[in-house]
């Protein structure tokens, strides 16, 4: 795996994000090689950014992706490497209560990369009943470490507290 590929996946923490970025790279390549074949590659890149507006993060990632030889083989070779990572990376499924913004996802993703595996990707599912924290599905086994589960485990204590009050 090339340094560029490592760089490209450094800020990607979820399967969905990697899939989306691969689709983005394919879109760029298709524009560059099939949309305006008569123009020089630099002009095509300029035209692409004029035609499509992206968020800041995506814009930065595309620019990073384009920092390689501007050949068909090179671009699609990188895309192939990204697809291999998508297929082969270990995955951890996290069940959480709320849809998190990118910053919080990056916090969690960094923890995973640091404490489990650099190439591990996350799949998020959402279940409001969990309240907070997360449950983990790993190798087909469900492990509940959520706040909701902890509260239910403490229900007897809560009940005793209520009885004491009443």
């Amino acid at each position: 795996m090339s340094q560029l590929t490592d760089s490209l996946i450094s800020d990607i923490y979820t399967h969905e994000e990697l899939t989306r970025r691969i689709a983005l790279a394919r879109g760029v390549c298709e524009y560059l090689f099939f949309k305006e074949p008569g123009l020089a590659i630099e002009d095509r890149i300029a035209n692409y950014f004029k035609t499509y507006e992206h968020e800041e993060q995506d814009q930065a990632w595309i620019e990073k992706f384009l920092q390689q030889p501007h050949t068909h083989e090179s671009f699609f070779g990188t895309i192939g490497e990204l697809e291999q990572i998508e297929k082969k990376s270990p995955t951890i499924v996290l069940h959480i209560a709320v849809i998190l913004p990118a910053l919080e996802i990056s916090m969690i993703g960094n923890w995973v990369k640091k404490n489990i595996n650099q190439q591990t990707l996350i799949r998020f599912t959402y279940n409001p009943a969990l309240a907070g924290g997360c449950a983990i599905s790993l190798n087909g086994i469900y492990h509940d470490f959520s706040v909701g589960n902890r509260l239910y485990q403490q229900q007897e204590k809560i009940l005793n507290s209520i009885r004491t009050i009443v």
Binding site: E104, M107, W111, G132, C134, I136, L151
Partner: protein, 233 residues
């Protein structure tokens, strides 16, 4: 004796005499021819003739006597028959009278007997009916007493059973009420606890910042790592 019979007897006797006379005459003639003696034959013929005549006279006299006897006998018998007929009619009339009297008597006696029998039977029936009525009344009284006693016993028994059943049901109901009260309390407590948990969850879910959520998730991951669920590769 019947007159015809008298005549018949007379006729038979006469005929017998005639036949004997003829036989004697023939015998005499035969003897006369054998001896062929004239004188002797004449005497013998005269004697035969005399015998025959005598015999004929006797026969005639006998017939006359027989006829007379027959007539007398017939007359006597006729007189006897008339007397007998008269006597018979008298006796018959008497017998009929007696029989009629006996029948009337018997009829009257029978009627009286039947009346007496019927009266006696009526008395007997009435007596039996009264007796039966009395027995029946006694039986009814006995049955009534027995029935009343049976019903009273049955009623007392049922009353006792119902009372026992009611007591048992009351006890069960009280137990159920107590059980229900405990369950309701338990349910109320649980509902309350569930309510607290749900409220807490809602508060945590919606009242906590995204950063805190991320921290809670990281706490969960740390817990998982401590428990060995997550292992570094």
């Amino acid at each position: 004796m019947d007159i015809v019979l008298v005549f018949l007897i007379g006729f038979i006797i006469i005929t017998c005499i005639v036949i004997i006379s003829i036989i004697v005459s023939v015998y005499v003639d035969h003897l006369g021819s054998i001896r062929q003696s004239g004188k002797l034959a004449g005497e013998q013929a005269q004697a035969s003739y005399t015998i025959i005549r005598r015999a004929m006279k006797q026969a005639h006299a006998m017939i006359v006597r027989a006829e007379l006897t027959g007539i007398q006998t017939v007359a006597k018998k006729k007189i006897q028959a008339d007397a007998f007929e008269e006597t018979f009619e008298k006796e018959l009339t008497k017998l009929l009278g007696t029989a009629l009297h006996n029948v009337e008597y018997a009829n009257a006696s029978l009627t009286k007997g039947y009346q007496e029998y019927l009266l006696q039977a009526r008395k007997c029936f009435e007596s039996e009916i009264l007796e039966h009525r009395h027995r029946l009344a006694q039986s009814f009284e006995l049955v009534e007493e027995t029935t009343v006693k049976t019903y009273r016993d049955f009623f007392e028994e049922q009353k006792k059973l119902v009372s026992e059943e009611l007591s048992a049901q009351m006890k069960k109901t009280e137990e159920r009420i107590e059980d229900h009260r405990k369950k309701r309390e338990y349910l109320q407590d649980n509902v309350l606890a569930d309510l607290v948990v749900r409220t807490a969850k809602l508060v945590i879910k919606d009242g906590v910042s995204m950063e805190s959520h991320a921290k809670l998730i990281i706490d969960s991951l740390e817990e998982a790592r401590k428990q060995g669920v997550l292992k570094p590769d």
